[in-house]
Symmetry: C2
């Protein structure tokens, strides 16, 4: 009844041509961890690390969002946004202020110090990104960035509206 010996290494036909190097999930996994590795030194000291950086980026342009809108933009849960903003506010990189149009909500605003810190981290991250993409030509690097951004934008829409086409 046990599959020992005789059942090992059979049915090869069903998985022919499969290889780790061509697997999309594997590639995403390796690229994600590699980016975390090369980017980690760029965000040391910044509250929340890479996630804190994304919050600052999201605040750099446009109207001050509510915490919930910010969480949706960055791709974080609103419960972790609370802790993240606590830490960023403790270093006066952001400020929370009441939303004049909804007394439940709070607007998140980037401070001058926050904008300065964002510039510092951004320049370091640029070098880390070049390190990650160093095997790609300039054109290929631009292509990869564009393709990833397109997938990411629709992914964000799907995450905010889960199952709008279901049922």
């Amino acid at each position: 009844m046990n599959a020992r010996g005789s059942e090992v290494e059979t049915a090869r036909d069903t998985t022919d041509g499969l290889a780790l190097a061509t697997d999309l999930g594997w590639a995403i996994r390796m690229v994600s961890s590699a980016f975390s590795r090369v980017a980690s030194s760029s965000v040391v000291g910044l509250p929340g690390g890479a996630r804190g950086y994304l919050v600052l980026v999201a605040l750099a342009d446009g109207e001050p969002p509510t915490q919930l809108a910010l969480a949706n933009d960055v791709g974080l849960d609103r419960t972790v946004m609370t802790y993240l903003l606590d830490d960023l506010e403790a270093e006066e990189l952001i400020v929370r202020r009441p939303d004049p149009s909804d007394r439940r909500a709070r607007q998140v605003v980037l401070t001058g110090a926050g904008r300065e810190r964002l510039g510092d981290v951004r320049s370091r991250l640029g070098i880390a990104e070049e390190e990650l993409l160093r095997d790609l030509s300039d054109g290929d690097a631009i292509s990869l960035r564009a393709l990833l951004s397109r997938i990411a934008l629709t992914a964000q829409r799907d995450a905010v509206l889960p199952g709008a086409t279901d049922c």
Copy 2:
């Protein structure tokens, strides 16, 4: 001394042109979580989920690797590989056998049942991957896969050989 009111929204020049949608780290984060979301239903019931699937893929071709070589291939720590293989072996999808050339090591072999299960999961994952890349033309999808794989391969090499060019 506090940055309230007057220091808010200054120094805009240093971060001009910054946007979340063009940030590489943000895109990688969103794509990674989106893939996990669309792929999760494809790997339900498989021990280890998506990581278990990658182990099966890595075993589908070539000589049976040791646990350590397998961990390096997949991008996992050898300590999690132990638990993962325990679970996969409990369902008889893989077998551990002594390495004839090194009595410390064990070879990991895919069973017939494991190869069948791999085929099942692979076909479901193919649909999930198409769902993730549905906004891309066929050519763009192929490009993205190729570019990600290239980055992933060098990332794997760097992870296995940390800091070979340092010092």
